[in-house]
């Protein structure tokens, strides 16, 4: 599903990501680990099309990475930092709006919305506005927005950030369910429990 060949990123004379090659199969979870500054987020940005590599190539489902290409946008979902949130929408409104733009079936959109919120333990917070959420709840809310849209490849940067162990467990369950349903996951994490429970393969990045 994902082919990474000698991909490296250099900014000026600083190496952000040392050249690396790897591949990820369909319905496989690749966990990217490494100390701070080894290029985990940079690699994810390259995969998500937000950053062009200075060397090497990336192909996803046989096609190049073009962030504004319609097929790529449909295929690849990413959360690297929090997604933009509208201050005038509640949690439920947000997730439902995202789901509604991906399907003509309003019943399916509503079911997906309620399912994702329940899956991440956000169903009791559905009437809150983004500014009324704690940092951990905001992280879960960001994940809910990404999980409410269809994807074949899901790219996540430290989804466990700001979460307590119970909620990390909810996230692991949600991600495993996506992988078991056929999605390809690339997840950068510092969480050993998330890595142990989710990884089919682990990519360890060394200092650049």
């Amino acid at each position: 599903m994902i082919e990474v060949n000698d991909v490296g990123v250099i900014a000026g004379n600083v190496t952000l990501l040392a050249p690396i090659s790897t591949s990820v199969q369909r319905a496989e979870a690749l966990i990217v680990r490494g100390r701070n500054g080894t290029g985990k987020s940079t690699l994810l940005r390259v995969l998500a099309g937000a950053r062009k590599p200075t060397s090497g190539t990336v192909r996803i489902a046989g096609a190049g990475v073009i962030e504004r290409d319609r097929d790529f946008r449909r295929r690849v979902a990413a959360m690297i930092g929090l997604p933009p949130m509208a201050s005038d929408l509640t949690v439920l409104d947000h997730v439902l709006l995202v789901a509604t733009t991906w399907t003509e079936d309003s019943t399916a959109a509503a079911e997906l919305t309620h399912g994702v919120l329940a899956e991440l333990g956000l169903d009791s917070l559905d009437g809150r506005f983004p500014h009324e959420l704690s940092s951990g709840q905001t992280q879960l809310f960001g994940l809910a927005l990404v999980l409410a849209r269809p994807f074949e490849v899901l790219i996540l940067d430290e989804p466990e950030q700001r979460l307590d162990p119970d909620h990390v467990e909810s996230v692991i369950r949600a991600l495993r369910a996506r992988r078991d349903a056929g999605a390809t996951l690339v997840v950068a994490t510092h969480s050993t429990s998330l890595a142990d429970r989710l990884a089919d393969r682990t990519l360890l990045l060394d200092a650049a």
Binding site: A77, A78, I80, D88, L89, V98
Partner: protein, 497 residues
């Protein structure tokens, strides 16, 4: 000021001690600004106030009533302003340190309140003195009235400061009280019989040429009572309000310093707390309808902001219509209409700002960025077409100005203001290339270019309004402004993210 407070403030100020050279430069800068900018501006204002038109305006029979409206609006605004940025404000750290100490807040925050009050009072005193001085110079009032009305101006300034502080001390009660003050002010202006019984009426009755000693005594008594209440108000200041206001002001001034006015303004954008049970997203047969309703309900969740936006758009429609009145300064009224329309669109364009943020981030919605933006543009488009055109039609009927031209200009102005809002939403941070100095024989023009970039939305909106008012005399001007607005928007869209 207690010894402890003096010591604490001293420690804070000691970290920012200016050298003799810095102090000298500051004095030089203040002198130059005073000589080059303030003095000519003050002279121009005085000449304008004492011109035949200025005197006629101040001496018109409507002037006392207008003064009552201005004063009550000022007190209303001060109450509302206090909720977001009160006069009792220090930088975040000293605010926190003093607020959590056992020092009385009436002492800890006395300095900032006195400075803010002094500035407000000096301004109102000067304005009142200017009005009275203009009339006295023309022989339309006694010289003594200058001193009397200036004193009235000073009292208005003190009352304004107390209202400002009251808004900070009682943020929740400030809204109904402000609406009450405004209602009383408007009623006073239109029902003369109650003028001797209301504060804004006392100010109107003290207007040069109509002065009455009873009203002065009443106003002085009210001012003294309110000043006596200041320590009580200050001791009621809430720590959460103080620290939140200090942090927000600190952040906003940092953004303003880097000319990021959009982010600074966003810090003061009111956030929703109501309407959460009313579903904003209602899947319908067409996504356009879904977004239209989502944006409408989203805007209604901050009702005060929405009302201000609609009132501003109405005022814009009225001004662009009045720009077609014979003998009126059309371009000036048009420019004012453009500015007000741009500001009025703010509360109804949250969706456009969200679309701009999403367009610069990873794909989230199942539609293209272009379609997302177009869908979010529907609600402000509907609002501006309805409100601007209705205001233009009603104003045309009331004033007898033929409606066709104002309607066309209002529509052009609204569309350009909306485009300008889109461009503003896509603006992003200051491009680094603008930091490059631009040496010329007159000096470095870099600062002027950066300032133009920072306020380009306002400049384009004013230009759009002026050119819309002159659309039938100079259609090329309107075309040129429209092309500029569209090019700016398209260029920012291409470079989004």
């Amino acid at each position: 000021m207690s010894a402890r407070l003096r010591a604490a403030i001293g420690i804070w100020r000691a970290r920012d001690v200016r050298t003799a050279g810095d102090r000298g430069f500051l004095v030089y800068m203040v002198l130059m600004v005073a000589l080059v900018t303030v003095a000519p501006l003050a002279r121009a204002v005085w000449l304008s106030a004492t011109s035949a038109e200025g005197v006629a305006l101040f001496a018109s029979p409507a002037a006392p009533g207008a003064t009552m409206l201005v004063v009550s609006s000022m007190w209303t605004g001060a109450l509302l302003l206090g909720r977001d940025r009160g006069p009792a404000l220090r930088p975040p750290f000293p605010t926190h340190a003093l607020a959590v100490s056992d020092l009385p807040r009436s002492s800890a925050f006395r300095g900032p309140v006195l400075r803010a009050g002094g500035l407000v009072t000096a301004t109102t005193t000067l304005v009142a003195g200017l009005v009275a001085g203009s009339l006295a110079m023309s022989g339309l009032s006694e010289p003594l009235s200058v001193a009397v009305f200036a004193a009235v101006g000073a009292m208005v300034g003190v009352i304004t400061t107390v209202a400002w502080l009251a808004g900070q001390a009682f943020p929740r009660a400030a809204v109904p009280v402000a609406l009450g003050v405004l209602a009383v002010g408007v009623t006073t202006a239109v029902v003369p019989v109650i003028q001797p019984f209301t504060p804004s009426g006392w100010v109107g009755l003290a207007y040069p040429g109509t002065s009455s000693s009873h009203t002065l005594i009443a106003l002085a008594a009210l001012t003294a009572t309110l000043v006596a209440a200041v320590p009580v108000l200050m001791n009621r200041l809430d720590i959460a309000v103080l620290t939140a206001q200090a942090a927000r002001w600190d952040s906003a001034t940092a953004h303003v310093t880097s000319m990021d006015f959009t982010t600074a303004a966003a810090l003061y954008r009111r956030r929703p707390y109501t309407g959460r049970r009313s579903r904003a997203v209602r899947p319908m047969s067409g996504l356009a309808w879904t977004f239209l309703i989502r944006d409408a309900i989203g805007a209604a969740r901050t009702p005060g902001r929405l009302v201000v936006g609609v009132v501003a758009l109405t005022a814009s429609g009225v001004l662009i219509t009045l720009a077609f009145a014979p003998g009126s300064p059309g371009w000036l009224l048009g420019a004012a209409a453009g500015l007000i329309a741009f500001a009025g669109l703010g509360p109804v364009t949250d969706g456009i700002r969200h679309a701009a943020s999403v367009a610069g981030d990873f794909p989230l919605y199942g539609i293209s960025d272009e379609r997302l933006l177009a869908n979010h543009a529907l609600f402000p488009l509907v609002v501006l077409v309805i409100v601007l055109l209705a205001a233009a039609v009603v104003c045309s009927i009331l004033t007898g100005i033929p409606a066709a031209s104002p309607l066309a200009s209002a529509l052009a102005l609204g569309l350009l203001a909306l485009f300008t809002q889109v461009g503003n939403a896509l603006k992003g941070p200051l491009p680094p290339e603008l930091l490059t100095p631009i040496p010329t024989p007159m000096g470095d023009l870099g600062a002027a270019v950066r300032m133009t970039w920072a306020v380009d939305g306002v400049l384009l909106a004013a230009s759009a309004g002026a050119s819309a008012a002159l659309a039938f005399e100079s259609p090329l001007l309107l075309t040129g402004v429209a092309v500029t607005v569209v090019i700016v928007g398209i260029n920012r869209w291409r470079h989004r993210g």
